[in-house]
C-alpha cells in the first residue's frame, strides 16, 4: 500500500510538467494512477472475502508512535475501491472537461493526484497519527483545489473557509488521538482501540474531539456551511472531493471507530443529534436552491448526515445498510455532479430557472442523471434502494425510543431526499413553460462516459445485493449490538415497504408543491445561519487580534525597556521576599578615600541623568568612570585602573567627536509624570542590584577559582602578571571573541558613516592629495585674532617642508592652529609609540599587554589628529584601518589554531627561550603573537574611529558647508539656559 501511495506521490510531482507539456489529454494516462489503486483492490477481493487482511508496516517516528501501518480490511477495501475508481473516472472526465487552453491544468493535475494518494493513505492506515497526517493533507489539497479559480474572490474565500473549518476539526481530532494514545490502556492503533476501547472521562473527551474532526470533515451541522461554499471548485473536484471521497473521510472514521465506541452514550447522542439535524437541514435547504450544483451540495450534506447516522449506530444491521449506502452514495452523487458539469459546459448555466428541454436534447446527460437520481431517492432496483430498504427493515425491527426517533428522522429525511431528487430532475431536464429551450453546445462523447459508467454501476450493484452483503457482513459483524442484517431487493411486504411507499408519496407531494415550499422557506428563517456565524466569529477574531497587538506593541523604546525592568524588579523582588536570604555582614569601606570616591561617583551619576546638555552628560559620565578608575587603584589593581583610565579617555574623545554633529541638547524632555515613574523605576533597579550585591557574597558556598590563578599563571602561563596571562592565555578564548566584537563595532560604525557618500573603498587622505582649491579643514566663523600677524595668503614662499613641525596643519584654518600643540605632538608621538611597544612586550610579567598598548597608540593618533586635522591623521597612519583590524583578528585566531597542527590544544602557548648571543637570552611565550593580534585590532579600532567620526565627518561637513559647531563653548546662537534647549533643528544624522 505504501508503494501505491509512493506512485501517487511521484505521479503528482511529475503531472504538472506532463500536463503542461502534452495538454489535457495527459489526464487519460494519469487516470491510471488512482485507477491502479482500484485495480489492486479488486485483485485483493478474494483475500478480503476470505477475511484475510493484508498488513504492511514501516516504522517512521518511533519516539512518537508514528508508524506507517496499513491494512486492507473490508471497510478499507471498499474505500480504496471508491477512492481509486471514482478518482480514475473523474480524471478521465477531466480530459474533456477543461478547455484546451485552460491555465494551471498541470498544477491541478498534480494536486488532484496528490489528493487521491492522501485519501488512499487515509482509508488504509491503522495508525491514528498517520491517519491524521493524511487527513490534513486532504484538507490542504482540497483548499488548493477549491481555490483553483483563484482570481475569483468567492473561490478564495470558500477555500479559506474550508481549510480553517476542517483544520479546526482536524486539530481537535488530533488532540483526541493523542489523548487516546497517551492514556493508560490507550493506543495509537485504530484496530487496538476498537478491540479494547479505553473508558473513562479522558476517553470520552477524546471521542468527542475525534467526532468533532469527523463532523467538520463530513460537513455535519453545525460545520456544514463550508461544503456549499466549496462548490466554487471546478465540477470534477466537487464530484470527487466533495461528494465521493474527502467528505466521506468523516463517515469512514465514524464507521471505523463505531465497533468500539458506538455504545458510549456521548457518542450515540452526538451522532443522533448532529446526524439528524444535518440530514433534515441539508434536505430542507436543497429544496430551495436554484443552482443545480448547490442543490446537490446541500443534498450531499443531507446524505452525509444520513450516512453518519447509520454507520455510527452500534447495530449490525443498520451498519450493514450504512456501508452499502456509502458505496451507493459515492456512485450516484459523483455521477450527478459529473452530469451537472456536462450540463454546465453544454448549456452554459446551472440555474434551473434557465434550463429547459435538456431531457430531450441532451440525452447523454439525462440518462445517467435519471439513473443516479433514482438510486439517490431510493427507487428499486438501484443500489440506493437496497441500502435504504435495509435501513428501514433494521429500524422497524427492534424499537426502543432511540430507534424510533432514528426511524422518524430517516423517514422524514428520505421524504426530503425524494423531493429534492425530483426537483433536480425537473430542474435539469424538464421543459419549463415560459422558458425557451437552452442553446446547447456539442460536447465530446468522452465527457459523458464517466457519468454513465457510475450510474450503471449503481444499477448493477443494486441488482446484485448478495455480493454486497457477502462483502460487508464481515465488517458489520464487528459492530457490538443487534442481529446481522441483509441486503436484498425484495424484503417481502412489511412495514419497511410501507414506509417506502409513504416516502415516495409524500416526497412527490412536496415536489408538486415546490412553489409553496420555496415561499415558505423564504418566509421562515430556521435558526441561526452558520455561515454568518462563522464570518462574525472571524471578524471578531481579527478585531481581538488587532486589540491585543496594539496593546502590547506600542512601538516605544522607553516602554519596552520599562516593561523589561518592571518584570525584572517585580519577579526578583518576589523571589527575594519569599526566600529567607539575608544581607550578610557589610564592611563599609577599607579606607575613607573609597567613601569619598563613591560619593563622587554617585553624584556624578545623578547629575548625568539630570543633564540636558549632551556635552555635560558626557563629561559627568566621565566623572563616574574616572571614579571607578580610582576605586580600582585603591583596591590594588593597577592593571585594571590603567585600562579603565585609557578606555575612559578614549570614550570621552569619541563622544566629543560624535557630539559635534548632534544638537547641543537632548531632544524633547519627557512629560513630568513619566519622568517620575522612570526615575522611580531606575531607583528600584538600582536598589535591587545593590541588594543582590550585598546578599550574594554572604551566601558564598565554595572557594572561588581565582585562588588557583596565581600559581597556575606562573607555572603554566609563564607570566607573573596574572591579568595579562588571564587575558592572553587563560581566557584567550574570550579575548579572541572580544576582539572580534571590536572589529565588528569599528567597521560597523565606519560603514554607517561612510554609507552616505559611498567613498568607503577610498584611500587614505594625505597632504599630497590636497589641491590648492580645497576648503580649509575646520573652518571657523570666528575672526582669527592672529590673522594680522600672518603674511597674506598666496604671498608665501615655496613650502619649506623641513621647517614645519607637522605637515597636516597646513590644511587647517589658520585660527585652528596651535604651534605649541604641534610642537608637543611632534615630541610626544614617537615616545608614546615606543612606550606602547614596551608595554606590549613586557605585559606578560608587568602591567601592560596588547590591549593597553593598542589604546596608547590610539591616543597618540588622537593627538596627531587633534593637532593637525584629518590630513595629519593620514600622514600619521597611511593605512586603512580595515587592514589592521583584519590582520589582527587573523593573527590572533590563526595563532590560536596553529597548535592544532602540532597535536596541541587550540590557543595553547609554549615558552621558547632564544639565545641572542651577547644580548642575552630572550624568553618568548607564544601567546605574544596572540597579544600582537589584540594590539593590532585595538589600534585598528582607534584609527577607524578617528577616521570615521573625526576625519570623515569633517570632510562631509566641509563638503556641505555645514562645519562642525563649536561645542567647547556656547555658540552665540544657543541659549545658555539648560531649561530652554534649542529646538532640534539639525538632521538626525
Amino acid at each position: 500500500m505504501l508503494q501505491l501511495i509512493a506512485v501517487h506521490l511521484l505521479a503528482a510531482l511529475a503531472a504538472p510538467a506532463l500536463v503542461s507539456r502534452f495538454g489535457r489529454r495527459m489526464f487519460l494516462p494519469l487516470a491510471l494512477v488512482p485507477g491502479s489503486a482500484a485495480i489492486w483492490a479488486l485483485t485483493r477481493l478474494g483475500d478480503v472475502l476470505a477475511g484475510e487482511v493484508p498488513v504492511q508496516s514501516v516504522s517512521w517516528v518511533d519516539s512518537l508512535d508514528m508508524h506507517l501501518t496499513f491494512r486492507l480490511d473490508v471497510l478499507a477495501w471498499l474505500m480504496v475501491l471508491l477512492v481509486g475508481g471514482i478518482g480514475a473516472l473523474v480524471m478521465i472526465y477531466c480530459a474533456w472537461y477543461f478547455a484546451t487552453g485552460a491555465k494551471f491544468l498541470g498544477r491541478f493535475a498534480g494536486i488532484f493526484i496528490g489528493f487521491a494518494g492522501a485519501m488512499l493513505g487515509l482509508v488504509t492506515t491503522d495508525n491514528t497519527l498517520a491517519l491524521y497526517t493524511f487527513w490534513e493533507l486532504t484538507t490542504v489539497f482540497s483548499y488548493l483545489l477549491i481555490g483553483h479559480y483563484f482570481t475569483r474572490k468567492g473561490a478564495r474565500r470558500a477555500g479559506m473557509q474550508a481549510i480553517i473549518v476542517t483544520t479546526f476539526g482536524g486539530l481537535a481530532m488530533f488532540a483526541g488521538f493523542l489523548i487516546l494514545g497517551a492514556m493508560p490502556g490507550g493506543s495509537f492503533s485504530l484496530s487496538e482501540l476498537v478491540r479494547e476501547p479505553p473508558a473513562g472521562t479522558a476517553a470520552t473527551v477524546a471521542i468527542v474531539c475525534i467526532l468533532v474532526g469527523a463532523l467538520t470533515k463530513s460537513a455535519l451541522v453545525p460545520f456544514h456551511f463550508w461544503l456549499p461554499g466549496a462548490m466554487a471548485a471546478p465540477t470534477p473536484v466537487s464530484a470527487y472531493l466533495h461528494a465521493a471521497a474527502m467528505v466521506k473521510a468523516g463517515v469512514y472514521l465514524v464507521a471505523r471507530l463505531a465497533p468500539g465506541f458506538a455504545e458510549m452514550d456521548t457518542w450515540r447522542w452526538i451522532i443522533l443529534i448532529t446526524g439528524s439535524a444535518t440530514m433534515l437541514i441539508g434536505g430542507y435547504r436543497s429544496l430551495k436552491q436554484h443552482d443545480l450544483k448547490l442543490l446537490l451540495a446541500f443534498g450531499t450534506v443531507s446524505q452525509l448526515g444520513f450516512l453518519i447516522l447509520l454507520v455510527g449506530q452500534p447495530n449490525q444491521a443498520v451498519a450493514l445498510a450504512g456501508l452499502a449506502l456509502i458505496g451507493a452514495h459515492a456512485m450516484f452523487k459523483a455521477a450527478l455532479f459529473l452530469t451537472v458539469g456536462v450540463i454546465d459546459a453544454s448549456a452554459g448555466t446551472r440555474d434551473l430557472r434557465q434550463l429547459s428541454g435538456l431531457g430531450r436534447n441532451l440525452r447523454g446527460a439525462a440518462i445517467p442523471g435519471f439513473l443516479a437520481t433514482f438510486s439517490m431517492v431510493g427507487l428499486p432496483p438501484f443500489a440506493g434502494y437496497v441500502g435504504k430498504e435495509a435501513v428501514l427493515e433494521a429500524l422497524t425491527h427492534d424499537g426502543g425510543a432511540y430507534e424510533s426517533a432514528l426511524l422518524a428522522v430517516v423517514v422524514v429525511g428520505s421524504v426530503l431526499t425524494f423531493a429534492y431528487g425530483m426537483r433536480f430532475l425537473w430542474g435539469a431536464f424538464a421543459r419549463k413553460p415560459g422558458v425557451a429551450d437552452a442553446q446547447l453546445d456539442r460536447e465530446p462523447p468522452g465527457l459523458f462516459v464517466p457519468g454513465f459508467v457510475l450510474a450503471i454501476l449503481g444499477l448493477g450493484a443494486g441488482l446484485l445485493p448478495g455480493l454486497g452483503e457477502g462483502l460487508f457482513e464481515r465488517y458489520a459483524a464487528t459492530y457490538p449490538a443487534g442481529e446481522p442484517g441483509h441486503l436484498t431487493l425484495w424484503g417481502g411486504i412489511g412495514p419497511a415497504l410501507a414506509l417506502t411507499v409513504v416516502i415516495v408519496a409524500v416526497g412527490l407531494g412536496l415536489f408538486a408543491a415546490r412553489g409553496l415550499v420555496e415561499r415558505a422557506q423564504d418566509a421562515v428563517i430556521l435558526g441561526p445561519d452558520a455561515d454568518r456565524g462563522y464570518r462574525t466569529l472571524m471578524r471578531r477574531l481579527d478585531r481581538a487580534a488587532v486589540a491585543v497587538t496594539s496593546a502590547t506593541q506600542r512601538g516605544s523604546l522607553p516602554g519596552y525597556l520599562g516593561i523589561i525592568l518592571v518584570v525584572t524588579v517585580v519577579s526578583a523582588a518576589i523571589a527575594l521576599g519569599s526566600s529567607g536570604v539575608q544581607i550578610g555582614q557589610v564592611r563599609l569601606f577599607d579606607s575613607p578615600a573609597q567613601l569619598l570616591v563613591a560619593g563622587i561617583i554617585v553624584i556624578g551619576a545623578i547629575l548625568t541623568a539630570q543633564a540636558r546638555r549632551r556635552l555635560k552628560a558626557v563629561v559627568l559620565l566621565g566623572v563616574t568612570g574616572y571614579g571607578v578608575v580610582v576605586l580600582f587603584a585603591l583596591h590594588g589593581a593597577p592593571d585594571l585602573a590603567l585600562t579603565q583610565a585609557l578606555v575612559e579617555t578614549i570614550a570621552l574623545v569619541v563622544f566629543i567627536l560624535v557630539l559635534r554633529r548632534l544638537p547641543a541638547y537632548f531632544s524633547n524632555r519627557p512629560l513630568k509624570s513619566s519622568r517620575w515613574w522612570r526615575a522611580a523605576l531606575g531607583a528600584l533597579v538600582g536598589v535591587l542590584a545593590m541588594a543582590l550585591a550585598l546578599i550574594v557574597p554572604a551566601a558564598r558556598v565554595a572557594d572561588p577559582i581565582s585562588v588557583l590563578f596565581p600559581t597556575e599563571a606562573y607555572e603554566y602561563g609563564y607570566g607573573k602578571n596574572i591579568v595579562n596571562v588571564t587575558l592572553v592565555d587563560i581566557r584567550a578564548w574570550d579575548t579572541m571573541g572580544e576582539i572580534a566584537v571590536l572589529l565588528v563595532a569599528a567597521t560597523g560604525v565606519a560603514s554607517l558613516v561612510f554609507a552616505r557618500t559611498r567613498t568607503r573603498t577610498g584611500r587614505v587622505e594625505r597632504m599630497r592629495d590636497r589641491r590648492s582649491g580645497d576648503a580649509q579643514v575646520w573652518p571657523s566663523e570666528l575672526e582669527d585674532p592672529a590673522s594680522r600677524l600672518r603674511p597674506a595668503q598666496g604671498t608665501a614662499t615655496a613650502p619649506r617642508r623641513a621647517r614645519s613641525w607637522l605637515t597636516g596643519p597646513g590644511a587647517l584654518a589658520p585660527n585652528r592652529r596651535s604651534v605649541i600643540f604641534e610642537v608637543a605632538t611632534r615630541l610626544l608621538f614617537h615616545t608614546m609609540l615606543v612606550f606602547a611597544l614596551f608595554l606590549l612586550f613586557s605585559g606578560h610579567n608587568a602591567p601592560g599587554g596588547g590591549f593597553v598598548a593598542g589604546l596608547i597608540v590610539g591616543i597618540a593618533l588622537t593627538v596627531r589628529y587633534l593637532a593637525g586635522g584629518r590630513y595629519e591623521l593620514g600622514e600619521a597612519a597611511p593605512i586603512l584601518p580595515g587592514a589592521l583590524l583584519g590582520t589582527g583578528l587573523f593573527l590572533s585566531a590563526g595563532a590560536g589554531a596553529v597548535p592544532l597542527f602540532f597535536g596541541g590544544v587550540v590557543l595553547q602557548s609554549v615558552k621558547i627561550d632564544v639565545d641572542l648571543g651577547i644580548l642575552g637570552e630572550m624568553h618568548l611565550v607564544t601567546s605574544l603573537f596572540f597579544d600582537i593580534g589584540v594590539f593590532l585590532v585595538v589600534v585598528g579600532l582607534m584609527l577607524d574611529v578617528l577616521r570615521t567620526l573625526g576625519a570623515e565627518i569633517d570632510r562631509q561637513g566641509e563638503a556641505t558647508g555645514t562645519a562642525s559647531p563649536d561645542i567647547a563653548h556656547d555658540s552665540p546662537r544657543s541659549s545658555p539656559d539648560d531649561s530652554r534647549p534649542l529646538v532640534d533643528a539639525g538632521g538626525e544624522h
Binding site: G181, V696, Y716, D729, D734, G737, V744, S751, V906
Partner: protein
C-alpha cells in the same frame, strides 16, 4: 577528535580577519566566506557523529584545565545546533551572494558584510559550544555586535530607528546577563557550567531562584518571550531580507539554547517551570494575535516567530525527557523554516516590489515556483503534516498530555489553537499575495536562480526532516536524556577530581 570542537569558532574568525584585510576584493571575500562556512558545516556534521557515538567532546582551551580555563564543550544538543546553524548560515550566504551578483556592483554587499557575517557565525558557534558562563556571554556579545552592524547595513532612516530599539534592548539584556554572571560568581566562586551545576545545589533555594530569574531575564529577552518580546517585531523586519532571515532563524534560538542549557544543568529543581509555562502560553497567543493582525508579510512572519518561541519554551517548561526532546526538535525545525520563509519574503519583495499584503497579488500566476516554496514553508510553519513542524508539535503535545497537569493540558489546547491561527495567518497571506489580482501591475522583475536555489533547499529541509524524523527524534531523545541526567556533561568536563583535562592542573600539582 576533540580538536574539532574549537573549529566552528576559529574558522569563521580567521576567515573574518582575512576577509576584512582583503576588503577591496569582493569576489575573494565571497569565496573565503563560502569556504569557511562549508568547512564549519563539515566539522559540525562530523561532531554530530562523534558526540552521538563517543559522547560529549571537550577542549580545555590552551591546556588550561577547567574551571580555571575555559572548557569548550560539544554535546548532542550543541552538535545539532551547530549543524542546523551552519546549514542556515551557508544557505543565507549563498542567497546574499546571488543577490549581489544579480544586482551588479551597486547592489553588492558592502565590504564589511562578509567579515561581519563570519563573525556572527563565530559568535553563534561560540555560544552553542561554551562550557563557561562568561564565555557564553562573550558569544552573545559577538553575535550581538555583528547583528547591530548587519541590522543597520545601508543606514537608511528606518533601519537606524529599528536598530536603535534593537541595540538598546539588547544592551539591556546583556547588562542583566552580566549582572547575573557577577552574582553567580559571587555566590559560587566559579563560572564553569559543570562546576556551577555542582555548587548551585548547595545554595539557599531562595537565592537559587533569584539567580535563576536574573539569568533567565537576559535569555528571555533574546529569545523573545512575552512580555519581553515586543522589541522583535519592531526591529527585525526592516533589515535586508537575508539578514532578517538569519536573525529570525538563529538569534532567538541562541536564547532558547541558553535557556535549555541553564534549565537542565544549573537550575533543575523546577521552581520556575510553572512561570515559564505560563509565559510560554502567553507568548504563543499574543504572538499569533500579532500575526493575524498584520498586513505586511515580514511583520507577520516576525510575529509568528515570537509565537512559536512559545512552543519551545512550553517543551522546556515541561521538564521531562519527552518535552525537552520535542523542544530541541522544534528548535531545529523552526530555525530552518523561519529562515526559509524570510528568504521567500525577500524574493516576494523582489518580484512584487513590496511586502505589503494590501499591494501584493497575482504571484501564483507570475512566479509559480516561488509559490510552491512559500506554500510548503508556510504549511510547515503551521504544522501541517507530514512536515517537520507537525512532528515537533506532535512531540510537544504528547509531552504535554503525558505531563497531565491542568496547566500542561491548557498548554496543549493553546498549542492547538496557535496552530490553527498560524494556519489562518499564513493562508490569509497566501490568498492575498499569491491568489488575489494585484491591485496595481507588478514591476518587471525576475527571481534570480542563485537566490531561489538556497531558499528552495532550506524550504526542502523541512520535508527532509520529516523523512529522517525517526533517527532525528531518537537523537533528540538521547540529547534530552543526557541533558537531564547531567552526568555525561559534567563528567566529561571535570574528568579529574573536579578539574578538566589539561596541563595547568599538573603544573599546580608539581608546585605543591
Amino acid at each position: 577528535m576533540t580538536w574539532l570542537v574549537a573549529l566552528p569558532v576559529v574558522i569563521p574568525l580567521v576567515a573574518a580577519g582575512l576577509a576584512l584585510a582583503l576588503a577591496k576584493h569582493s569576489r575573494v571575500q565571497g569565496v573565503i566566506s563560502v569556504v569557511a562556512l562549508t568547512a564549519v558545516l563539515i566539522v559540525a556534521v562530523a561532531l554530530i557523529f562523534v558526540t552521538h557515538t563517543v559522547g560529549p567532546q571537550v577542549v580545555n582551551v590552551g591546556g588550561w584545565a577547567a574551571p580555571v580555563g575555559i572548557a569548550v564543550v560539544t554535546d548532542r544538543l550543541s552538535a545539532l545546533m551547530l549543524v542546523v546553524s551552519a546549514v542556515v548560515l551557508l544557505g543565507v550566504l549563498l542567497y546574499s551572494l546571488a543577490q549581489g551578483l544579480a544586482d551588479g556592483p551597486k547592489g553588492a554587499p558592502v565590504a564589511i558584510y562578509h567579515p561581519t557575517y563570519l563573525v556572527l557565525a563565530a559568535g553563534v558557534a561560540m555560544a552553542f559550544t561554551s562550557g563557561d558562563l562568561f564565555n557564553l556571554y562573550v558569544g552573545f556579545e559577538i553575535l550581538l555586535a555583528a547583528s547591530f552592524v548587519l541590522l543597520t547595513l545601508g543606514g537608511t532612516g528606518e533601519r537606524i530607528r529599528a536598530g536603535a530599539i534593537y541595540v538598546v534592548v539588547s544592551l539591556l539584556s546583556s547588562l542583566l546577563f552580566l549582572i547575573s554572571i557577577a552574582l553567580l560568581y559571587g555566590a559560587t566562586g566559579t563560572l564553569n557550567l559543570a562546576q556551577l551545576a555542582d555548587r548551585i545545589d548547595a545554595l539557599d533555594p531562595g537565592l537559587q531562584t533569584v539567580l535563576q530569574i536574573m539569568l533567565l531575564m537576559g535569555f528571555a529577552i533574546k529569545a523573545a518571550i512575552f512580555p519581553l518580546s515586543a522589541w522583535l517585531p519592531d526591529s527585525y523586519p526592516t533589515a535586508p531580507a537575508p539578514v532578517t532571515a538569519v536573525f529570525a532563524g538563529l538569534l532567538t534560538k541562541v536564547g532558547v539554547y541558553a535557556i535549555i542549557r541553564t534549565q537542565t544543568l544549573l537550575f533543575t529543581d523546577g521552581t520556575l517551570d510553572t512561570v515559564l509555562m505560563v509565559a510560554a502560553l502567553l507568548t504563543m497567543l499574543v504572538g499569533i494575535a500579532g500575526a493575524v493582525a498584520q498586513e505586511d508579510i515580514k511583520r507577520l512572519l516576525s510575529f509568528t516567530l515570537v509565537s512559536h518561541i512559545g512552543f519551545m519554551i512550553f517543551g522546556i517548561s515541561l521538564a521531562s525527557d519527552v518535552g525537552l526532546s520535542a523542544a530541541i526538535f522544534y528548535v531545529a525545525h523552526h530555525i530552518t523554516v523561519q529562515t526559509a520563509l524570510f528568504l521567500v519574503s525577500g524574493l516576494i519583495e523582489r518580484r512584487g516590489g513590496t511586502t505589503s499584503l494590501v499591494r501584493l497579488g497575482s504571484l501564483a500566476k507570475v512566479a509559480p515556483a516561488l509559490g510552491v516554496v512559500f506554500f510548503v514553508s508556510a504549511m510547515n510553519l503551521a504544522g501541517i503534516p507530514p512536515m517537520s513542524g507537525f512532528l515537533g508539535k506532535a512531540g510537544l503535545l504528547q509531552a504535554g498530555l503525558e505531563d497531565g497537569t491542568p496547566l500542561a493540558l491548557v498548554g496543549v489546547a493553546v498549542g492547538l489553537a496557535t496552530s490553527l491561527l498560524t494556519l489562518y495567518a499564513v493562508v490569509k497571506a497566501w490568498n492575498k499575495a499569491f491568489w488575489q489580482e494585484a491591485p496595481a501591475p507588478l514591476p518587471e522583475a525576475s527571481v534570480p536562480r542563485g537566490m531561489f536555489g538556497p531558499t528552495a533547499v532550506l524550504a526542502a529541509v523541512g520535508v527532509v526532516i520529516a523523512l529522517v524524523a525517526g533517527p532525528l527524534y531518537s537523537y533528540t531523545d538521547a540529547a534530552a536524556r543526557d541533558l537531564r541526567l547531567q552526568d555525561p556533561y559534567i563528567s566529561s568536563v571535570l574528568v579529574d577530581d573536579g578539574r578538566g583535562e589539561g596541563q595547568s592542573a599538573d603544573a599546580q600539582g608539581g608546585d605543591s
